[in-house]
Structures are given as C-alpha cells and as structure tokens.
C-alpha cells in the first residue's frame, strides 16, 4: 500500500508532482473507482477529451491514455494520490474490462530508452582511435607513477597529502580511462585505512599492475578477458546493446540490495541468484549527490525470465530483460561453504579483478568465536561474518537458516536471511 510520500516520490519531476496534487480533487474526474488490485478512472484533459487512467495499488502499472511522454504522468499520479488517501475506506468495485486487462499484465518490463542518434561512421571511428591513444598515454603515465610508488614505499605514501593520489586519478579521467582512476582511488583507500593496510595496499597495487599489463596486451588476450579488461579500464557497453543480446532464462531470486558510497558516487548493487543454474548476477546502479536511485526489485522478490549479461570474463553485471514475478523459491543455495569458497577461487581465476562474489547458503548456523561471528555449515566449516547477525539468530533460534551475502575473499557481509515464510534484509537492523 503506497503512502502519499511514496506516490510523490514516483513523480518524474516537480511540476508533475504539483500538477498531480491539484488534479487529485474530485472535480476533475468524470469517474473514479477503486478495486482489489488498483484504481481506474476517467479524467478531463486540458482539451475536449477525457483520458482513461489505470494504476496498480503498488504504483505499477501506471498507465494513462494522455499524450504526455512522462511516465507516470500527472493523471496517474493524481489517481495514486487519491488511492493513498482513500486507504481501505470506500467502496470496492468490480474492475471493468479495460482496467482488468491492464492490471492483469503482471509482467515487469524494462523500459527501453530510444538510442541517441550516433552521427556518421567516420566521426565515430576518429573519436574511438583518439580515445585509444589517450588511454595508452594515461596507462604509461600511471605505470611510471605506480613503479615510483613501489620504490618510495606505501608507508611514505600513507602520510602523503590527498593531492598525491588525486592528481594521477584526475589525469586518468582526462585520459578517458575512468576505470583506472577508480583503481587508483581504491589503492588510496586501502593504504590510508587503519589495520592491515600494507597487505591490502599490496593487493590493490597488484590489481592495478595487472590492469595496466592487460592494457598493453589487449589484442593478444582471449575475447572474454579482453572484454573484461576494457570494461575495467573504463570502456562502457550501452544498455541497449546488452539488452539486445541473448539473455539467460532462470528463476532469479533477489537476494540482496547493498548501497555504498564510492568517491563522489553512490553505488547500489542488486544481487540476483539464478536458482536452477546456481549462478549470480548483479545489477549496478549509480546516483550522484542527493538524487534518488531508480526503482529496483526489493529483496524477497523472485523473477522468472531472462537476464542479459554485460560482456566480460565471467558473467556478473547484468540487466533484467523480460521477467514476471513468481513466488519465492525455497531451498536455494549451497549447503557447503567449502564449495562456495571453491566457486570464489574459480571466479578469481577467470577474472583477476573480481572484487566480491555472491554467496547464497542454506542450512547454515551461526557461531560465535570471541568477538567474531562465523557462519558454519553442517560439517562445521565456516567463514567469518561482518557485523552481528542478530536477525539470523532470532529467526533460526540457533538452528539452520538460509542467508545470502557478499564475499570479498576474507569475510562475508550478510544481506538477507529467510525461512519458510518470509525474507528479511540483514545488515541494516
């Protein structure tokens, strides 16, 4: 059930929200009724005609026959506002045929954006080769900087001012290699952090080194690894290209949603677990400053259908292509933590730059070792947990439970826990 605030948050811009509030009054509507699954009505447009509006109780679908290209349009928003205010009161009516058709289409489709016109072929080729030249220069500079850093030592760098790291990062952005800039910033974060900074700094430096080496051997690399290296360096693939490719069919369970701040950007990872094929997919979303993320599927949803992967060494980053919501599948995930760690090792072998993999475990129990919390399987083998897993303990009473988390090579960051009846997020309680 949406509240007023939720509805206003769906508005594509401020003017739509304001117009919706004005249109919510009864006077503008010729007919307006509420049903089990949503609401429908007819509203007088600014011209002579009326528009047919139909919305689902959760905010989707939100359709209207008006010519506006904004979705949801101000008429749909107005109807949703009325629905939010009505709450559970008032008459519940039978859906007319046209509304029933719209509300029955429960599939969640991806909105395809019109591709921008690309200009002529020659210009594109010229820009591409210019970029390759700039990146090559950036890589060479970065290598020199890295080797110098190794000679001076990470300890000395630890005490350096921010400029020491920002200047090479900015130059890499100028060189159109933002992926390398990101890796330089990761190296900085590892080195200035407290604790095990030398070891983590070495790992990030090694990762940067491998990326630079990959650039120099780009053409000689096998296809999949070359695609991965290009993506890590900063070359992007367009959404339409990914969506146009062939997808993987499965029942995809949304097992985790994690938000983080990275440099000046907010990143959100939505993790999907393919139940039959037992593989992971992650949807990456970015937001700048205070902007909201686009809506995503919440934890506890299961989507049956196609998911399309970005090109790379191993399939991980993906987009939802064409799915419908199905009931949550029970008994998914690995029972052996040893095999889960094997899967991580295999991922590392395929993609040297992998940062974290998804683990979905079932029948595991929580253990406490001094200050640390561990999750163990039936054999007593376990992996360290980040944070305190109280929700899992409470739900399971100490017995076996299913949970999902992000594994980074050292510890598991739990994202969700579930039992036979409900799915709950972890890490934010």
């Amino acid at each position: 059930m949406l509240s007023r605030e939720d509805v206003l948050a769906l508005a594509p811009d401020v003017s739509s929200a304001a117009a919706a509030e004005m249109l919510a009054g009864l006077g503008n509507w010729d007919a307006r009724e509420r049903g089990e699954r949503g609401a429908w009505g007819e509203i007088r447009g600014s011209g002579a005609g009326t528009y047919r509006v139909c919305v689902g109780a959760t905010g989707s679908p939100a359709t209207c026959s008006c010519p506006s290209r904004k979705r949801p349009c101000k008429h749909a928003l107005a109807l949703l506002l009325w629905l939010a205010d009505e709450g559970a009161r008032g008459r519940v009516s039978q859906e007319p045929a046209w509304a029933e058709e719209i509300l029955s289409a429960s599939s969640v489709k991806v909105v395809t954006v019109e591709p921008k016109p690309r200009g002529d072929h020659a210009a594109r080729a010229r820009r591409a080769s210019q970029r390759e030249g700039r990146v090559a220069e950036g890589v060479a500079e970065c290598r020199a900087w890295l080797e110098d850093l190794m000679h001076q030592g990470l300890g000395a760098a630890r005490a350096s001012a921010g400029e020491f790291w920002e200047r090479p990062a900015a130059r890499l952005v100028d060189a159109q290699a933002p992926g390398l800039a990101r890796q330089v910033r990761r190296l900085r974060s590892a080195v200035v952090a407290p604790g095990d900074w030398a070891r983590r700094g070495l790992m990030e430096a090694a990762r940067l080194h491998v990326l630079l080496a990959a650039h120099d051997r780009l053409s000689a690399l096998p296809d999949a690894l070359r695609e991965e290296a290009r993506a890590r360096l900063g070359w992007t693939t367009r959404r339409e290209t990914v969506l146009a490719g062939e997808g993987v069919r499965d029942v995809w369970a949304v097992v985790g949603v994690v938000e983080e701040i990275e440099d000046r950007l907010r990143v959100r990872r939505t993790w999907l677990w393919g139940c039959a094929k037992r593989r992971e997919a992650v949807i990456l979303d970015f937001a700048v400053g205070d902007r909201e993320f686009p809506p995503t599927h919440p934890i506890g949803t299961a989507l049956m259908g196609e998911v399309a992967f970005y090109p790379g060494a191993r399939p991980w980053r993906a987009l939802v292509k064409d799915v419908e919501v199905v009931p949550w599948p029970h008994e998914i995930g690995e029972t052996s933590i040893d095999s889960a760690l094997d899967a991580y090792a295999r991922a590392l072998a395929t993609d040297p730059w992998v940062e974290r993999v998804l683990m979905v475990l079932r029948g595991v129990r929580v253990a406490a070792e001094g200050d640390a919390w561990v999750v163990v399987d039936a054999e007593g083998e376990g992996v360290t947990l980040i944070g305190e897993p109280w929700r899992a303990i409470s739900l399971s009473c100490g017995a076996g439970v299913c949970l999902s988390g992000e594994y980074d090579g050292q510890s598991l960051r739990p994202m969700a826990v579930w039992d036979a009846s409900s799915v709950w997020p972890m890490g934010d309680e």
């Binding site: 009161r89 030398a198 700094g201 090694a206 990762r207 129990r365 409470s394 090579g409």
Partner: protein, 513 residues
C-alpha cells in the same frame, strides 16, 4: 616460479619501499610476483572451523505471532522511533495474546536499549524467544524488565540506581511478596533516597501484607521515607493508620443528627460543623501530618491528585483539618466508618458553609487517592469543584468506570469548549480514544478557525481510530498553520492501519516462527 614469497613478506617490502630493500630493483617483476602471491592467498584461503551456538529450546510458545500487516506496521514504528505508537501497538498485540515476529526482535531490543520509555510496553510481547535473545547480550538484558525481575537480587547488588529500581518494579509486578522481602533485606544499607524510591515501587500490588512493615517505616529517620509510608498506608482501608485517620476525621467534621430530614426540606446550613483545632500531637506527626503549612508540605499531600492547593491554605488554621480529611476516605465519618449519606447532599450542605470550598478540595484529593467512584461521580456532576481548572477532573475521571466515563465525558467537553483549544486538549487527555469524546473534539475543531501555531499532537495520538479520516481531513485543512502536518498525517495513517490490522482474527498458522 621458484620460491614465491608469502604475501606478508611482500607487503613488508612494499611498505618500506623497494629502494630500501636489498636486491629489489625491478618494480615490475616485484608487482608480477605480488599479483600471483595475492591471487594464491585469496583463492587458497580456507574455511575456519567454529562451534555453532546451541539451538534454543524456547518451549512451546503457544502465542501466535502478529500477522504480516501488523509486523510491517511495527517495522514502520521502529523506523520512526515513536514511543507513543509503540505503546499503542504493544497494547493491541498484548490484548490479542500475540507476540512480536522473531525477525523484528533485534530492532525492537535495540530501541529498548536506547529509549527507556519503550521498555515496559514491549516487555509483554517479547515472548520466550525475545527473552532468550536478550539474555545473550548484556546491553539488552538490562532493558527487559522480566529478565531483571528474574535476577533481581543480583541486579540489586551489582547495578546502579535506575536499573535496580526497574528490577524491583518488575519483580513487584510478578511476585509482590518476593519484592517486599528483597526490599526489607537491603533496607539497612540503602540510602534515604533509595528507601523512599523503594517504597514508591511498593505502591503497585499494595496489600495488607505490606502493612506491618510500612507501619514500622513510619518511624524511619528520613522524612521523605516517613511521608511515603504514610501515603501508602492511607490507601489501605484496613491499616491502622487509616483507622486512626478516620477517627480523627470524625472529630474534625461532624454531621448534626437529623441532618437528613433538614436536607430533604432544603435547609442545609449548620448541618455540618468543622472543628478548627490545630494542635498536632506526636501520634499525628508520626502519621505524616504537619502542623505548619509550608509550601512543600501542601504540595506533597495533594501532589498525587494533580489538585493545586490554593495558597491561602498556607496561612489557614484549617490546614490540619484539611490534611486529615484528605487522608481519610471522603465524606463524613461516624463510629469509625464513613456514613452512607448521599454524596450529593453532603456536597451541597458543605458548599453552604464558608469553609466549604476548602473541604471539597480536600475531598477531591481523597476521592482520587481512595478511588471512590460514587464520590467522583457526585463531584463531577455537581460541577461544584472549587478548583475551577481541569486538573482535578483528570484525577476524578480516572477513577470512573467505563459506563460512567461514556456518560460524563461529552458533558465535560461541552462545558470546556468555551475555553478554547488548550482546554479542549486537556479535557481530551482525560480519556483519549473514547469514540464519543473524539467525536466531540473533532466537532469543535471542525467548527473553529485555523490559528497560527496550533498544536494537534494530542488529537493525532489520541483520536479513536474509527474517526481517523475526519482527523486527516482536519489536519489537511489546517496544514497551513499546524507545524509538521506531514508527520501528523503519517501518524494518523499508521494508527488507522494498526486498528484494522489488529481487528482481523489472528491466523493460527503464523505461529510457527
């Protein structure tokens, strides 16, 4: 590769800098080696072995978990951190014999840890699983009154002031005898402040079994302790102190013989006489009476009933008489028992006298202290209350049964309407959620003008859930002048959802987790 070095060795070299390490010239070769070593370390990291925590046997908890919608509402309330909504949710759940969903126990316990105000209300719906969970973490264990009560003796020995008292309070609720025994056993070492606070806790579940001990407390060294003991004994009608007070009341206030007949003829004057003697002997002082009326003593005796004693009492020779009348049950006393004269008649007769106002104030306090419904009804109905503010009404109203409240509530509100919104709010506080009171208040607000800086919090938290849509309309109408209208509407919607969610019969199958 021969002899690939360990990651930690390489990390050491990297941290000091290759320039300072003998034999390291080539940064690229070093980084190549590092890349392989790091990958091997990550891929080769094995599992760790650990012993899982024991499976809890939380027993056959027959109570059903609250339904899906109710659980969702609880999650919203926890996110808002609103203690009043928490209390309402917990009361609704407890009334239906439900318990909190296990997945919501950690956030609720975290909230109890950070906010003292919600500890009592959630205690009743945590259930065995909640207690099991709380026992696993020290910071949570101290926030659950039931767990404190289990271990009250140890807590009293180890913990500080407020937690000790919380433990004692919880113990008193479940095992009143044990609480008294604990209090008696630690009496000797306790400070005066602790002793007075401990006695205050004994007010809950007070019975005649406590009387002997309380009578000895009348001889305590510390004045607040003696006052507290006298206060408690006055409530127990069979206590020796209460008997002494009744005897004194009989001496101070006398009804003339044949008064009934004179009242039926309408003649009231001189049917009741008040003795003004103001000598306070040792027995009276022991029972907590004071002869000189300082502002402190006046405040103390009437503090529990919210009645504001008029300042003229400080210089009055009636002070002693009024104390006695406030301590004894209301109404004239004869032969050691309060008479069965009709309170209405007595009130009218007393009002006819010049000291009438003062005696009625004392009897207000007495009616509340002794929870005397007949007198409370008579006083409210007569509307002869000398203290013309609404404060005493709250005390008297709390004594009434539900039927009487339904009957008298609207009358009170309608006579208050003239005062304005603040008085209305005060009247509403008497019994929020009563449907007729809510309706009356909404009528007044609907007809009234919008004024800058209006405060509607009292209405939003207290309005009967069946009338939420009217309240929503009003908040929307007044959103220009009321602060935080969005927040108020959110609270109203939550309360409406809550009422609906708990009306549905609990489905037994959800009891499993």
């Amino acid at each position: 590769m021969q002899g690939m070095r360990d990651v930690d060795v390489l990390a050491k070299a990297a941290s000091v800098g290759l320039a300072r390490v003998d034999g390291e010239r080539d940064a690229r070769a070093f980084l190549d080696e590092a890349a392989q070593a790091c990958a091997a370390a990550l891929a080769g990291a094995g599992t760790r072995r650990a012993q899982p925590i024991e499976v809890a046997d939380t027993g056959d908890d027959s109570r059903a978990v609250t339904g899906e919608e109710a659980t969702r509402i609880l999650a919203d309330i926890v996110a808002l951190r609103d203690p009043l909504l928490a209390e309402e949710w917990a009361n609704l759940a407890a009334a239906r014999g439900s318990r909190i969903h296990p997945a919501m126990l950690p956030p609720v316990l975290d909230w109890c840890e950070s906010d003292v105000r919600v500890r009592e209300c959630f205690d009743g719906v945590l259930s065995e699983r909640g207690f099991w969970l709380a026992r696993r973490r020290d910071s949570w264990r101290q926030c659950v009154p039931t767990l404190l009560a289990e271990d009250a003796r140890r807590v009293w020995g180890e913990a500080k002031g407020t937690i000790r008292l919380a433990a004692l309070r919880a113990l008193r609720r479940s095992k009143p005898e044990a609480a008294r025994e604990l209090a008696e056993s630690v009496w000797a070492e306790a400070s005066a402040e602790d002793r007075a606070a401990t006695l205050a806790v004994m007010r809950d579940r007070l019975t005649m079994d406590d009387e002997p001990w309380l009578e000895t407390c009348l001889d305590d060294r510390s004045k607040p302790v003696r006052q507290q003991a006298a206060e408690l004994l006055a409530i127990l009608p069979e206590s020796r102190l209460a008997q002494r007070m009744r005897e004194r009341a009989a001496m101070y206030l006398r009804v003339a013989p044949g008064a009934n007949e004179r009242w039926s003829r309408g003649a009231r004057k001189d049917t009741i006489t008040l003795d003004r003697s103001s000598s306070c002997d040792r027995a009276m002082r022991r029972d907590g009476l004071v002869d000189s009326a300082s502002s402190v003593s006046v405040r103390h005796w009437l503090s529990l009933t919210h009645v504001d004693a008029p300042s003229r009492w400080r210089h009055s020779d009636l002070w002693l008489a009024l104390q006695v009348l406030a301590a004894a049950p209301p109404g004239p006393v004869r032969d050691g028992q309060t008479t069965s004269l009709d309170p209405r008649d007595v009130i009218l007769a007393v009002m006819a006298e010049e000291w009438g106002q003062d005696v009625l104030i004392a009897w207000e306090a007495s009616a509340v202290r002794h929870r005397h419904e007949a007198w409370a009804v008579a006083m409210i109905e007569s509307w002869c209350l000398p203290s013309a503010t609404l404060d005493p009404i709250e005390g008297l109203y709390s004594v009434l049964s539900i039927e009487q409240r339904e009957r008298l509530g609207p009358e009170i509100i309608s006579s208050v309407k003239k005062g304005g919104l603040r008085e209305l709010a005060a009247a509403f506080v008497i019994d929020p959620r009563s449907e007729c009171l809510s309706s009356e208040c909404l009528n007044v607000i609907e007809r009234g003008p919008a004024r800058r800086g209006m405060n509607l919090d009292w209405l939003v938290y207290g309005v009967n859930p069946a009338l939420v849509h009217r309240a929503l309309d009003q908040v929307r109408r007044l959103s220009g002048v009321v602060e935080g209208a969005e927040r108020l509407m959110r609270i109203l919607r939550l309360r409406s959802r809550m009422a609906e969610a708990f009306v549905q019969p609990a489905r037994g199958g959800e009891g499993s987790p």
